[in-house]
Structures are given as C-alpha cells and as structure tokens.
Point group: C2
Chain length 700, copies 2
C-alpha cells in the first residue's frame, strides 16, 4: 500500500506552504526543515519564492523533480486535482491535512478524493488530519511542532488534537515513538492497513491507538489473528471513546459516522486480542510495558517495598487484575530473613522497611528474582531520609539486567526520586509514578501473551445441518413477502440446523398416540398434546392443548381432544395431534441471539434469561463465525457464570452443550447473512443438555 514510501519519503512536496507563521502551511514546512529530515523539501505556493531555505514552486505542475509524498493543506475542493498532478510526478502517498470532507457532510468530495488516489495508486492519509511523523528519519510531515524521541511505540489517532497533547506529554515522560500518525477521516488508509504495515516495521514493538469508530470487525479480528500467530506477535492497545450513549452521540456529530455500542467494541477487542485502555495514561502505560518487558504469561507476582501501606495498595491492585500474590519458597524466605532486620516482612509483599538502603533492595531482589514462584515483580520505593535513590535504582538495574521476568518499578514521589526514575527509564525498566498502574500494566502484558499463545481454533462447524431446507424456507418466505418467522416457523429453522429441541411427533389415531408416546418417553413419559389443524388459530380456546398427558392416558386424551375440538369447531379439518415432550423442570434460562453492530458486523449474543435479562443485562457478545474458544469466553464471561457450575444443590450445566448451541447459531447466521434478528429465548440449560424452547427469526 505504499506505506513504506510514505514513511521513507526521499522528497516531500507541501501544497499550501505558507510564509505566515502559526499556520498549518507554515508549520509543516518548518517542521520538515528544522527537525533533521534529510530528504528533499518542495514547498508549493503561487505567491512566494523561498521558504526556510527551500525554493518554492508556484504550482505543483512546475515541479521539475520527483515527488514521493505530497502533503496538502489547501481548501478541500482543490485537493483531488492536486493529487492527480502529484501522481504524474511520481507520488506514492498523499497526506491530506485539509478539512471539509465527510466530517462536515461532504461525502461526495471524499469519495472523489478516494477515487483519485485509488486510480493513481496513491496511499492516502486523511483527509482532515494533522499529518505523519517518522521519528527514525526525523520526518515531521505534520503541523505538530514537537519531534518525539525515537522509541518503539507506533501511535495512531483519530483525533488530531490529541496527537499534539500526547507529543507534549511524551516529551516530559520519556515516551518514545517509532511512527506517529494522525489518521483523520481514514478515507483510504485505515487502522488495519497501518497495523499490517507496522507489523513489518522492526522499530515498532507495540501499536497504540486512539479510536472513535472502527469498521468491519471480522476483518480486524482475522487480520490480528493472522499477524499474531507467528513468532512476532505485536500487541495493539486502544483507547476507544464513546463508551456511553452521550459520548457516541458526540462522535457521530463530529465524524459523521454511526457506530456500534460499547459492547460491540468489547466483543471486538476480546476476539482480536486488542488491549483496551480506559484513560490516556493507561494507553501509554500499557504501550510502554511492551517496549521494555518480554511478552510472557504470568500468574504470580511479588511486591518488594520499603513501605507497608503502598505494599498493601499494590497487593489490592495485583489481585484486582487477576493475579495471585506469589508464595515465596522457603529458601528465598530464609535468605532474606538472614539479611533483613527482624521487623521486616519476608513474605509477599516483602517489606525491607523504611530505613532500607540500596543493599537491602539488592539482596532481596536477588533472592526474589531467583525464585520460580516470582513470575512478575513490582518494586516500590518511598523516599525516606536514609533512602539511597540512585544506588537503589542502580541495584535494580544490575540485578534485573539478565532477567526475563517482567518488572515494574514505582519510585513514589517526584522531587527527590526523579534522578532514580530517569536512570531506570534509561535502562529500559518500566516505571510508574504511583504503584496503582503497575499491576494493570503487567496484566496487559500477560493477557496479550495468553491471547497470542492460545489455540485459536477453527470456526465451529457441524456437518449435520440441512442448509437446503433453510434455503427453501427463506426462499418461500421471500416469494410470499414474509420476513418474520414466529415460534413454530422459527422452530423449523432450528430443527434444520439440528438444535436440540423437545422431541415431538404427530399422531393420527388414539392407538398411534399411545404408541408414539411410548416410543418417545417410555411408560413414564409426559407430553403436551396439541391439535393439528390449518383451520385453527388459537388452539387452547377450542380445547386443543393439553399438558401433562402421560403415555398411559394418551389414547384416552386423544379421543377426548378430538371430540371437544370437533364440537367447538365443527368446520375445522383436523390432522391428528402433535405430541411434544414436556420441558424439564429446573434448569437455567438462557437467551441466545443475534445482534447487528452498525458498521462492525453480526454478533452472537449469549446471556442470562428470565426476568434477570432486563434487570442485570448480563450478556456477552462475539462476532460470527465463532470458535470454541470464543464460545467458552462468552459462557464464562457472564457475571453470573458461576450458576453453570452448580449452586445451592443445583447440578452443574454441561457447557459443551451450550457451546454446541452457540456454534450452530454461529453457523446458521454465517450461512444466511439475511438473518437480521434471531432470538432463542429461552434456551434451557440443563446438566445433560441444552434445549431450545422458543425462538423467533427475522430476515431482511
């Protein structure tokens, strides 16, 4: 997609270059000219001749050299034509800073722009963006004035203004970047294209994004699974705004795009292994830990501190993020006990006490790092008068130099600890001002490893489904102009895809009724008996429904029902009765359905049924088609998932049977994208099976 040509441009033309300071057209030329970029800079402006030492061309058509990248900051309507000309000069990429496209309703102009770029094989960044920075070759093709330090985070943002704030913040916080991209309206190049490119970029270890809206969940999931299944998994960390309805409304009004609700994004992130950050600070904490620590799955953490209180706060955070506090080996405890004062705590959290100098930290950390129980380590320090800030930082650097164990260090405070913090940062050790974000960052690291190393698996697939039957049902309905399939019709579709249903059978005589009951349920069988007739709409009104019919009295009840119905509805033609097993007592009511996320795709919904659906809204989502892992994540992800394990004497539910139902639904909606609504409600989850009791389907 020419993104390599973009980031490694040998020559950049700036259309809309300006000599007036503090304008976009001036900033871009200044940033390219003054921050170390070595390529050719070709400003274009009809009225001036020279800018920051570069010859200014009056028209892009006049340029007598080759242009790799064109940066455009002129009114929107002129942009497509400029790109056409740039293409003739060899341009492979365009960065369109100009606003005035889709975001203010000019959808057509944006389409035209896309078209021109596509026809001319030009990768387009923007429009309506801040520009692009490559920290490695010092190419600041943006109007943000700061060149970030070189580092391993590639940052992309759908908000240009956030870029400048982040650069301003990063400058003080020792956060380094590989690439820095304001992605704007992403008319052409979007996050997925960029992630694909960055995956090949050796300088980039992690991709951090600020996102307001994404498209095509399936493509994102498949791309990230594909890219990350090898030896070179590269995490993507996302700060997604619009969690709330009000936030989503604000996005729609400033981007001109509608998008799915937050649960649609949660599902996407879970399936694609994307790490979600909830704040700007978390975004960079999570990104940074991947720059300095190896990707590892960890479960147990040791906290080393010179202060009890912060040790407890950190313990809380460790547990909150799903880790355990490691139990140190007897040997580790013995070694520490020998060297530490009696009041010290040699159990995790290890407290070397407020008067600890560097030697105590060094000894304790050496012991801990050798202990296999310590999979991850958090070191805390509070500055007491005897605390040796720099010596302790050096001790930590020395001890951890050859270790592969993830470590986060929090030297708490500012004024007196900052020299130590800078030493740690220079040695590529992750630091946080306060201890709270340390555990969250380790969780991000470990969770991504777990995701990338999990068996991804194939989409759930069943051979015993009757695709043709459903095709027929839908064709017939379409021909008749019907789109909605209530109860009975929906159950036919369920049957075709072999969902577990209550067994039912038709009988045409009292003798047959008794025989069929015996076949279905033996001597002790219990059934619902329903009259079958095309002429009867409300069966129960005419005595056409009986519950708890037993095998023994089935024959008698058959005769009784036919007589009653004939009396009440003499004109109706009767086709015998339907005998259906009674639904088992007990069990847990589940709701299983389909939900369409605008712009993102079709999701399977799985949740707690009954009256608690509304009250607790305990539902999970995943994009179809689903793997077994996806299905299990939905089942175990419910807040009330413990109910499946068996509570209060209730037996545990067979989760494999739930997986099967989820899988069949996933296959059905993948086979028939015309399904826009489908609810199985309830799906009854039992110890030995799960049964569809009712369903409804709507197609386009």
């Amino acid at each position: 997609m020419n993104l390599d040509a973009l980031f490694n441009a040998q020559s950049i033309a700036i259309v809309g270059a300006s000599s007036r300071e503090k304008t976009v057209g001036n900033d871009v030329v200044k940033n390219l000219s003054t921050q170390g970029y070595q390529g050719k800079i070709i400003p274009i402006n009809p009225k001036i001749d020279e800018l920051y030492g570069h010859k200014v061309y009056h028209d892009i058509a006049d340029v007598d050299q080759s242009i790799d990248v064109v940066v455009i900051a002129i009114p929107a309507k002129f942009v497509p034509d400029v790109i056409k000309v740039a293409a003739t000069k060899g341009a492979k990429a365009a960065v369109v800073i100009s606003a005035g496209f889709k975001e203010i309703g000019n959808v057509e102009l944006e389409e035209q722009l896309k078209d021109v770029c596509r026809k001319n094989d030009i990768a387009l960044i923007g429009p309506n963006c801040l520009g692009v920075i490559n920290a490695q070759n010092k190419m600041n093709a943006s109007f943000a004035s700061l060149m970030p330090e070189v580092g391993n985070i590639a940052f992309m943002s759908q908000s240009g203004a956030l870029c400048t704030a982040v650069l301003d913040y990063a400058d003080k916080m020792a956060i380094g970047f590989s690439k820095f991209v304001s992605i704007g309206n992403k008319a052409d190049v979007d996050e997925v294209d960029m992630i694909r490119y960055l995956h090949t970029d050796p300088q980039t270890k992690v991709v951090a994004l600020y996102v307001e809206q994404l498209s095509n969940a399936r493509e994102i999931i498949d791309t990230l699974i594909e890219l990350n299944k090898g030896d070179n998994p590269k995490p993507v960390v996302i700060l997604k705004s619009g969690r709330t309805e009000a936030g989503a409304g604000a996005i729609a009004s400033h981007t001109g795009s509608l998008s799915g609700g937050d649960s649609a994004y949660e599902a996407l992130f879970a399936q694609a292994g994307i790490i979600r950050a909830n704040t700007i600070e978390d975004l960079f904490n999570f990104a940074q830990i991947f720059c300095v620590n190896p990707q590892t799955q960890i479960n147990k953490i040791v906290v080393l501190t010179n202060a009890g209180g912060p040790g407890v706060l950190t313990t809380d955070e460790v547990v909150k993020h799903g880790f355990e506090m490691a139990e140190l080996s007897e040997e580790t405890v013995r070694v520490m006990k020998e060297a530490l004062p009696e009041a010290a705590s040699t159990h995790n959290p290890v407290d070397v006490l407020g008067d600890a100098r560097a030697d105590r930290y060094k000894m304790a950390l050496e012991a801990i790092i050798k202990d296999p129980a310590a999979e991850g380590i958090i070191v805390l320090l509070t500055p007491q008068s005897m605390t040796e800030i720099e010596e302790t930082a050096q001790a930590i650097i020395d001890v951890t130099k050859d270790s592969q164990k993830p470590i986060v260090v929090s030297f708490m405070g500012q004024k007196s600890v900052h020299t130590g913090v800078e030493m740690l940062q220079a040695a590529d050790i992750m630091t946080t001002t306060f201890p709270e974000p340390a555990a969250a960052s380790l969780a991000a690291l470990s969770n991504f490893s777990k995701w990338s190393k999990r068996p991804a698996g194939e989409a759930l697939h069943f051979d015993d489904v009757d695709y043709d039957k459903v095709t027929q049902i839908f064709s017939k309905a379409k021909a008749e102009g019907r789109t909605s399939f209530p109860e009975a019709l929906a159950m036919e579709i369920m049957e075709a895809y072999n969902f577990p249903l209550l067994k039912s059978v038709q009988a045409y005589s009292s003798h047959e009724a008794a025989q069929k009951c015996f076949e279905l349920g033996g001597d002790e069988g219990k059934f619902a008996m329903k009259i079958v007739s095309n002429d009867i709409l409300h069966k129960s009104d005419v005595g056409g429904v009986m519950l708890n019919v037993t095998t023994k009295d089935a024959a008698q009840k058959y005769d009784q029902m036919l007589m009653t119905v004939s009396e009440k509805k003499p004109e109706a033609k009767l086709d015998g009765v339907l005998l259906m097993e009674m639904a088992p007592e007990g069990g847990t009511e589940i709701i299983l359905g389909v939900s369409k996320a605008p712009g993102l795709g079709t999701m399977i919904m799985f949740g707690l049924g009954g009256i608690y659906v509304e009250v607790l809204k305990d539902v999970d989502f995943a994009y179809a088609p689903l793997t077994r892992v996806d299905a299990m994540r939905m089942i175990n992800g419910l807040k009330s998932s413990k109910i499946f394990e068996g509570v209060r004497g209730q037996q545990a539910v067979d989760k494999e049977k739930l997986v099967e139902c989820i899988g069949r639904l996933s296959q059905l909606v993948t086979d028939f994208p015309e399904i826009i609504e489908l609810d199985i409600n309830p799906l009854l989850a039992l110890p030995d099976k799960s049964i569809v009791l009712d369903a409804r389907v709507v197609i386009e």
Copy 2:
C-alpha cells in the same frame, strides 16, 4: 484533647535527638531548626551538648523550661517513663515516633503507653509514626524532610512511608497542606479525634486520609453527621487499602489488627458521607477540588474544548460519574454561533476548534457561564501551534473570577502547557493533566454536597414491638444454655417485633379447623396444615404435614391427619394442628440479615435472595440503627434494584414495606446486641407487602 497545643506548640523537646545525619533523631531536630519554626527547640541526648545551634539537655528531667510537646525517638520500652517526666514539665502532647509496640505484638507496652498519656492528660500521636507537620507555623516535627506549601488540605496517613512519598509528589504538583499527620498505631489520638479538631481549624477545608483499618463505625458515622450538619461541612476523602482479601491479610500482618471486609467499609463510607478515592492520585484530585470550588450539588455539566476527541472522552467520563451533559439554551447557542467558525460545535461538548485562540475560549466560556443549564464546567485545551496557552489561561481566570460554578480545567500535555497550568493553579482553579479525572472530581464535590444537605432523619423506630417478650425468650434460652434459634423459635422473635408473617392459628378440632380457616382466608383460603405435638420431630414422616388444604376440606383433612398420625405414632400426645396461610406465588426473594464487621460494628445486610445470592452476591450493608434514608439506599443500591420497579409484567414492589422490615430488624439488633447472627431468608417482597417466610437467629 490538647490537639491545639500540639499544632501550636511554643516549645518542643526531642528525646532521642542525634548528631548522626540521616537518622530519625537528627532529622526531626534538623527539620524543626531549618524550616522556619519559631518556637523553642529542646533536644535531649545524654552524650552531646549542642545540635543545630540548640543547647542539648542530657536528660529530659534536666530541662529547666516548660515543654509543650515531646517528640520521642528512643527504644520503645523507655517511652512511657519519658512521658511521665515530660508531663511534669507541662507537656500537653507527645509524638511517639518509636516503633516496637502493637505492630510487632507488644500489645501490653502499647497499653501501658496509652495509660501513662491518659493519666497525665497528654494527647498521644503514634506510636510507630513519622511525626506531625503544621505548614502554617512551619513546624516540622517529623523525620520527613520536605515542608509542604501552605494549603487547605489536612492529610493524615496510617502509613508513614506514604507521607514522605506524598510530600515529595506534592512539592511538584502545587498541592498545599494545612496539617500533615502520620497517625501511626493511633493508640490514643485516632482519625475521628483528629477530624473533630480539624473541623474547627479555619485553615483546613478538606481532610484527606490514607487508612488501613478503622474502628467503631457508629462513632464515625455519628461524628461526621453531627459535624457536617451545620453551615460548615468539611469533607473527608479516604484512600482505604485492603480492598481484597490478600490486601487485608497484608494489613493484618503489618498492623497487628483484624478488620472488616471491604463491604463493611463501603457501608461506613456511604453512611458517614465519606468520599472514597481508589488511587493516590484520586485522593489528591478529590481533596483539591474542595479547596478551590464551592460545595455545590450539580447535575449537568458543559464541556468546552478545542479538540473533538478529548471532548468525547470527557463526555464519557461525565456520564459515567452520574452527570448529564447540559443542554445549552438557544440564546447561548446563538451567541456562540455568531462568533465561532461554521465547523465549530455549539452544542455540548462545545468545540471551538483546534485553531482557537484565547478570544474564542473567552467568548464561549462567557456565554456558557451565564447559562443556567451549565451547573459545572470542564474546559479542555490541546496545544496547537496557534493556541495561546497563557492568554487562554488568563481568559479562563478572568471569566470565572466571580462565578460560583465549579470548574475544572485540563490543559493537556506538559512541556508547552505548563505555564498556563501554573497560572490557573495560582488563581485557585482546579487543573488535571488529562481530562479523565475532571468528572470524577466534580462528582466527589457534588456527592458530598448532596450528602451533607440531605435530610439525615432519625433511626427507624416502631412502638408496636414486644421488647419484653424477646427478653424472656433470650433469658430462657440463656438459662438453658441454648444460643441458636432455628425456624419456629426464630419466628416467635419475628412475631414479637411485629414483622409481617404468614398468618397461622392453632385448631383443636375438625370443626374449629374449618372455622379458623374461614376466619383467616374466607371460603377460598388455602393453608398448610401441620400436626402439633412435642413428641414428634419429623412431622412429614408421620403424615403430619399437608399443603393446599382449603377452607372447604379443612375439617375432613383434620380428621384424616389425626387418624394417620395416631396410627403411625400411637404413643404421641397430639395438640391439634397448626394452620398456616400458603405463601403467595410470585414475588421476589430477598435475604435480610445481620452481619458483624470485626472492630466496626453490627450491619444490616439486604440483598437479592434465591440462587442468585451466591452467584451475584448482590447485597448492601448499613450499620444499625438505620434511618429511612439508609434503608432506601440499601434497597436502591442493589445492582438488581430495577426488579423492584416491576419488570416483564411483574408488578412493582412496595418499597415502604421493605423499609419497614429493614427498620424492624435494625431496632431488634440494636435492642439486643447479643444477636450475633440473624437471617431472614427468604423475605418475600410483593406488590402490597413483604413477608418473612423463614428466619434463624443465633445469640452470644
């Protein structure tokens, strides 16, 4: 309690003063001597004669002048005797830095210390603490080396080491303090004493605490309600560690104290109007907003920004914290529309666009601040090249100068925005580095106002209870050595306190059975019939339980039951039958009970019953006795509280009837503190009543 004498000491003796640098005994004398303290400094050390220009006494007994405060940093066992001598010199307060008391198991020595202080009317801070700082008179009687800026936050910490970290942090973050106290083991002076004192301190606007464990919830609640009901409410913000079991374990091991679980603290904070912070940063954000903004209840917030993305992130946070995004008036929108470029958003979040200079901010903020819909305001700024940082800061200062509306400003970034941030801080405008904490801080401000202005109300009390009856029941049981009251016995207690129960009555003949049934339930009554006999343990085994007995067949069933039981158990003496209403169908099962929080007190527990108790753990707690407000908070605080409003055709529950049950239980456990366990399970909540179906009670 002599705390005024402590903070305004005219003379301070330091026992354990040392000439060796970087020791506690040296630090305290140095800090007092070099940071501006104007009182007399009296170091005590047997071996030296002079320290930091002060005469050193070899023994406290030798001191020939009056001592207001004694600071002690010598081995624990010598401390009580030193205090005795200090008392003879006039000491009103002692700050015991020495460790080696309760925290390492020396409970007796700590008791002895307490005793000495009490007998000599000495207020004791510590032991095992860092010391005390009064920023106003520059008295740093601690071994933390930094003197904080003077401000309006009183900070207290149960972790001494956290104090030094906070001072180090505050020094860079322009956080000012009134008093700064390391409270240590709080053998004598505890948080409540200190809060009571600080309430009278004009310099203190807010009290911020780091806490590991508290005692006596009722005293804390009553004190804070009492202190804050006047015109001078002073918020308390707490960072409480030990949220998790592992964290609580770590606390127990380093303080030597057990404490209640986190839900016990949540209940305490809710009832006492304490604002809970979850991180150190939040603790100071929440404290700071009270220093610079008036206490006001707000519901609607306006966000003003020059960047769409941060505007959306902030919108999310605003909604997440329970606020609404204010809808601006037509007039406000009109005024802004006239002055802003077309692409700007004049609806909330108001976006003055990336190229906004100070004038746009000024105009928009003027319009917004006049609009009654804007109850609180968050202003965001990202630094673009044309952004006027200082001019915009000045504009914000000018426009908000005379406004009483709470405002938080986030100039996002560091390097280029810091001059503006400093101007804002100097003008007492609350700032945050990123926008996320702004809404949370405004929520802290508003929630405290709501709490302090709420009608507090009296404890729920009912006159129709039979106190004597329960006294008798308990006396009898105690005499018999019984402590546990299962089902039937517990229901007697419930009846005495007039809880709504199913009606029941005894009948001694078939005729009487029919008559009583009619009296209880008319012709359509349905009952459970149970044999009454002291000789029968398992009634149902001998045919002594019948369900769904109707008024019509009651006489016949009576005869039938007496015959069956007589046949099966001929030796038993029968006392007729108990007729009890059948429990109504439907309704919501509630669990209502008593829970003891170690060290904190007796809580009422209210939660969702049935199988979801275990799965969802949806329960609330409150300390007895409860007011109506407390009871409603519990009911409406459940995650599933929506169920009481009526869902899926189920009728709404009468919450007043729930309040009544909660109130009766609160009264019962307050009247009888010997009750250590009590569960009403289930309490059946119905549209017109709530009924106790079963209960169990355990006394000490």
